[in-house]
C-alpha cells in the first residue's frame, strides 16, 4: 500500500506536470515519468508483461516520436496563446463531467480490492500467456480490426505526404524550366531526400 501511494504520487505529479509545464519537452518528459511509474504499478500487480509492453511501446517508441517531432519543429514555450477562447471553459466542463461520471459509477458500484489469489491466477508467468490467450482466442477478430485501423491511418498519412511531395516536386520542375540557365535535374519521383 505504501509503495502504491508512492507510485501514485509520482504519477499524479507527472500528470499535473504534463498540463502545466510551459516547455513542450518538459511536458513530454513528465508524461514519460507518468508512464514509467504506471509500469512500476503493473509490476506490483505481478503483470510484468504489461509493464514491459508499457515501457517498450509508450515510453520507448511513442514518446520518443513525440519528442522527435517537438525537437524537429524546434517548439519553445513562448508560442502565442491559442485564440480559441471557448477552449479553456470547455476543457474545465469536460473534466468536471468526467469526474462526476467516475464518482457516480463508483458510488453505484463500489469496487473492493481485488483478491491477491485472483490476481496471481490472471497474471501467472508475468501475464504473457494470459494476454496471448485472450488476444488470439476470443479477441482475435477485434485484434485484427485494430490492426486494419492502424494501417488505414498510416496509409492516409503517407497519402497526404506523397501528394504534398508531388506538388513540391512539380513546382521545382517548373521553376527549373523557367530559369534561363540549365535547369536542375528533376528529382527522382517518389524519393524525397531526407534532411536531418
Amino acid at each position: 500500500m505504501l509503495a502504491f501511494a508512492a507510485i501514485a504520487t509520482v504519477m499524479l505529479i507527472g500528470a499535473i506536470g504534463v498540463v502545466t509545464l510551459r516547455q513542450p519537452v518538459h511536458a513530454a518528459l513528465s508524461l514519460v515519468g507518468t508512464l514509467l511509474a504506471l509500469a512500476i504499478a503493473y509490476v506490483q500487480l505481478n503483470a510484468g508483461f504489461l509493464a514491459a509492453i508499457q515501457v517498450i511501446v509508450y515510453a520507448g517508441a511513442i514518446m520518443v516520436l513525440f519528442l522527435f517531432v517537438i525537437m524537429l519543429l524546434a517548439l519553445d514555450g513562448e508560442a502565442p496563446a491559442p485564440s480559441l477562447t471557448w477552449l479553456r471553459p470547455a476543457a474545465w466542463g469536460a473534466g468536471a463531467l468526467a469526474l462526476v461520471a467516475v464518482l457516480a459509477v463508483l458510488a453505484r458500484d463500489p469496487i473492493g480490492p481485488a483478491s491477491p489469489a485472483a490476481l496471481l491466477e490472471v497474471f501467472a508467468g508475468s501475464g504473457a500467456e494470459g494476454v496471448a490467450d485472450q488476444l488470439f482466442g476470443p479477441m482475435v477478430l477485434s485484434f485484427h480490426l485494430v490492426g486494419v485501423l492502424l494501417l488505414t491511418g498510416i496509409v492516409a498519412a503517407v497519402g497526404l505526404v506523397q501528394r504534398r511531395a508531388g506538388q513540391a516536386a512539380e513546382a521545382r520542375a517548373r521553376a527549373g524550366r523557367a530559369g534561363a540557365d540549365a535547369p536542375d535535374a528533376p528529382p527522382l519521383p517518389g524519393r524525397e531526400p531526407v534532411e536531418v
Binding site: A59, V64, L65, L67, V194, V196
Partner: protein
Amino acid sequence: MDPYWVIFLKALVMSVLLLGGFAYLTWLQRRLLARFQHRIGPNRTGWEGLLQPIADAIKMIFKQDVTPTHADKVVFILAPGISVVFALVAFGAIPAGPANSLFGMDPWIVDLDIGLLYVLATTSIGVYGIFLGGWAANSKYSLLGSLRSSAQIISYELGLGLSVLSVIMIAGTLNLREIVEINVWSVSPLLWPGLLVALFAFWISATAEVSNVPFDLPEAEQELVAGYITEYSSLKFALFFMAEYVGMITASAFISTLFLGGWKGPGFVDALVPGMSEWPFVWLFLKIFVLLTIFIWLQASLMRFRYDQLMRFGWVWLFEIALGAALLTGAVIAFVL
C-alpha cells in the same frame, strides 16, 4: 530466489564489474585499433598500458565541468544519468551460469519471466539520455546528433524486435534462463536457415542500436563535431561514454544469450574436463569478449553510412529480411515440425 540483500549485493558487484569492463574495453579498443592501423597504441602507463584507463579516469574527474549558458540545466544534468543507469540496469536479467553455481547462489540478478522484453525495454529507455542531452545543450550540432540518433534507434528497433521473434517462437518463452537451457539450435536443423538470418539481422540491428560503426552517425566527427556529446565535459562526458561502452557489452551478452548458447560452453569440452561446458561465467565472458572484438574490428574496417543509406537499409532491407526470417521460422514450426 535469493534474499533481497544478496540480490542487492550482486547488483552492486555487477555494476562495478561493468564499469571496470568499460574502462578496460577502452584500452582494448585503443590497442586493437592501433594494431589495425599499424600503430602501437597506449603502452606507456603501466605494463602494456594497462594503467591507462585509470589515468584517463583521474584526468576526467579533474577536468573543468562546463555547462553552456543557455542550456536547460535540469535536463542537461539528468541526461547522462539516464543513459548510464539504464545501460547498467539492462544487464540484470542476463544469466551467467546454471542455478546455484555462484557459491550456492544464482549467477543472475533476477530471473524474470519476461527477461527478453525487459532487456529490450530498458535499452529503449536509454535512448532518452542521448536524445535529451543533445537537446538540452542548446547547440545545433548536439541537436542534429540527437535527432539522428532517435530516428536511427526507432528505425532499427523494428529489426531488433522482428529478429528476436524467431528465437521466441522456437523457445516458446521470454525467460532468458529458459532460452539458454532450451538452446534454439538443438531443436531441429530445419530451423537453422531462419535462425541464421535472424542472428545476422539481430546483430546488425544491435550494432545500430549501440551506434557502433558503421552506424555511428549520432556522433559523426567530420560533420557534427561530436554530435549529442559536443557540449559535455568532464564527468558527464565520461558518463555518456560509459553508457555507450556498457551498451556494447550488454549487446554482446544479449546476442550470446539469445543465439549463441549463453553461458553454456560447446559440448566437446566435456570430453577434456567433465562438466567444463557448465562452468559459470567463463563461457559467457569468452563470448562477450569475442563479440566485442568483432565490434572493434568493424570500427577499423567499415565506413560510416550516409544518412539516407542508413534509413533505406533499415526500412527497406533489414526490416524485410528480419520479417522474412520470422515468417520462415513460423512456417517451419507450423507446417513441418
